[in-house]
Amino acid sequence: MSVAENQATAERGGTRAVAVLSSIGRFLVIAVTTYLGLLAVTFFIGRVIPIDPVLAVLGDRAPANVVERTRREMGLDLPLIEQFYIYVKNALNGDFGTSVLTTNPVMTDIRRAFPATIELATLGTLIGSVIGVPLGVLAAVRRGSLIDQIVRIIGLIGYSVPIFWLGLLGLVLFYAKLQWVAFPARLDVVYEYTFTPITGFYLLDAAMQGQWDVFYDAFRHIILPASLLGYFSLAYISRMTRSFMLNELSQEYIVAARAKGLSERRIVWAHALRNAAVPMVTVIALSYAGLLEGSVLTETVFSWPGIGLYITNSLQNADMNAVLGGTIVIGSVFIAINLFSDLLYRVLDPRTKVE
């Protein structure tokens, strides 16, 4: 290899590295500013809007000396910018203060509630994708057919129905009338004492310990809320799949694939869907994030002891530390999923590999 060629190769390697670095850099800037934004907004909500943040945290029945001490503890005598700095530092350490309601550190409560929320949202997204993607594909392939109409109606209702209301009706029908599912909770009371969770995902824990009676009971409790969430994610996922697939199926490379003599099955599933899969990842991730966000409503309806229920219970008791802690945690996961899906998009799509 000649010197000039060598140099050219090195240079190309160099610009490639710069490109990769700059895209990582951009990603970091986006991630950091977004998280700082989230903290700034919650700081604003917790410290700036309330006329007296101490009362907002302690409630107005706290004795005067406690109020005074808390005021100093919260650093409210410091300038606002310094307060924000401390706030960010604490938040990064997972310190959101103490919950008035449970008297625990907020982070401890959240850690306990978190698996319940994740278990529910994950099962919901799983149901939604496993049913929603094939439905959307079929609707696109048989455009205008009965199945297409059904997908359309499922989507329209999913976008229009209040989730908590549908949950209540579900309870009336499947719990009270048909008695197919168990009452709103995570487990029957009997098992609350005999069962020791490991990961906090009850279905997983029960299966790992071979306690199939617990597994069955957990399943009877989770299936209704998970199906409800699954329906919402299905409505969104099937509709988006349909539209991505219609777009792919109208591309020239599909004509070329037909000209090669490929079967329709192969064209749809190996070519069109593989191309649609790239944007689908984002859609599924967004739907997952949406279910996490919607947990405040579903968990309230189904008395599901996750972060959503924790937030709403704290709201009712004006427990601001807990509300904001929960908001930050759900917000962080939500943002992380958004960022992550963006990254995954780049990995899946060969066109974005070299930039």
């Binding site: 986006i30 500013t33 977004t34 934004g37 989230l38 907004v41 919650t42 909500i45 917790g46 809007i49 309330p50 907002a56 455009r143 329209l156 209702i157 976008y159 229009s160 129905v161 209040p162 989730i163 908590f164 209301w165 549908l166 209540l168 009706l169 309870l171 009336v172 719990y175 009270a176 539209s243 219609l246 777009n247 994030a289 996490l292 966000e293 919607g294 405040v296 409503l297 309230t300 309806v301 937030i311 709403t312 709201l315 009712q316 004006a318 601001m320 509300v323 904001l324 929960g326 908001t327 759900i330 917000g331 939500f334 943002i335 958004n338």
Partner: protein, 306 residues
């Protein structure tokens, strides 16, 4: 004879060589309208929204009972009947009447949110798009940050701090729903910013303020209207969710979300108390969704199948 007149009027509207700006505009509107009304579902959506407006306007005439005072002694938790179409609630109030009055609160929420959020988005988007450079970068970063937030949870936290109430709920929803409008307005601004037409206005010495206000903002309106219509259902659902959690409208306001919350306690036995208001929410959201889809398809034929 009359068909001939209709025929020629149609031709006049569809003429490829309109003689006046008026004719061209009417022609465009006619084509859009034909595409819109050919979409039966969109038409149903329009009818639902018109019905909502009429019900809200004539609530006093349509409602047989008072929405806030009930007969505590004789008519608590009655099942649906001829006297009370949707039954009565725990305070003996007629649910049908409450739903009719509730339509006013639904309209109140969507209109106020639209009136607050759309101008914020419009302002941020057009300024960012027209100014470019750092202004653009910073404004859009802020927009993207807000876009990455979970809206419902954030609205919840806002109302928690501001205190429950329907005005605060409206404010919280508005604060979390302007970013998409800013994005749209910026995109539209960028497409016209360098057009000869804007250049001409600049040459005539118009101030940037005037250009943005008089020449750019009006161009963004139609895409904003579509987007706002599409968002209406989401706004209604968020407001109802806040109401359900006790953060939105407070008793005894006949707001539909709050009505579901108060019916929740008896839902296993008296399902209609929570059932009817939820159904009302479903129908109205459906109406907005159908209307929004139809508007989008009619004004932007490319997106027809998507």
């Amino acid at each position: 004879m009359s068909t001939e007149v209709v025929q020629s009027r149609r031709d006049w509207l569809l003429s490829e060589r309109p003689a006046s700006r008026m004719q061209a505009r009417l022609g465009r509107a006619y084509v859009t309208w034909r595409r819109f009304s050919a979409n039966r579902l969109a038409f149903v959506g329009l009818l639902i929204i018109i019905a909502l407006l009429l019900v809200a306007a004539f609530a006093d005439v349509l409602a047989p009972y008072s929405p806030t005072f009930g007969d505590l002694k004789g008519s608590r938790l009655l099942a649906p009947s001829a006297a009370h179409w949707f039954g009565t609630d725990d305070l003996g109030r007629d649910i049908y009447s409450r739903i009719i009055y509730g339509s006013r609160w639904t309209l109140y929420v969507v209109i106020l949110v639209a009136v607050i959020a759309a101008p914020i988005g419009l302002l941020v988007g057009t300024v960012a798009g027209y100014a470019g450079g750092w202004t653009d970068a910073i404004l859009m970063r802020i927009t993207d940050i807000f876009l990455a937030f979970p809206k419902l949870i954030l609205a919840l936290a806002f109302v928690a701090a501001l205190g429950p109430g329907i005005e605060n709920a409206v404010l919280a929803i508005a604060i979390t729903s302007w970013p998409p409008y800013a994005r749209i307005a910026r995109a539209e601004t960028l497409t016209v910013r360098n057009s000869d037409y804007i250049k001409a206005v600049q040459l005539m010495g118009a101030s940037p303020f005037r250009i943005v206000l008089r020449h750019i903002m009006p161009l963004c309106i139609s895409s904003l209207i579509i987007r706002v219509t599409l968002d209406m259902a989401g706004i209604i659902l968020t407001a109802a969710g806040l109401g359900f959690l006790g953060l939105g409208a407070q008793p005894p306001l006949p707001e539909w979300g709050a009505m579901i919350a108060s019916g929740r306690r008896f839902v296993l036995d008296q399902w209609w108390v929570a059932g009817a208001p939820g159904f009302a929410i479903l129908i109205v959201s459906l109406g907005f969704n159908l209307l929004g889809d139809g508007l989008r398809d009619a004004l932007d034929p490319r997106s027809g199948d998507q």
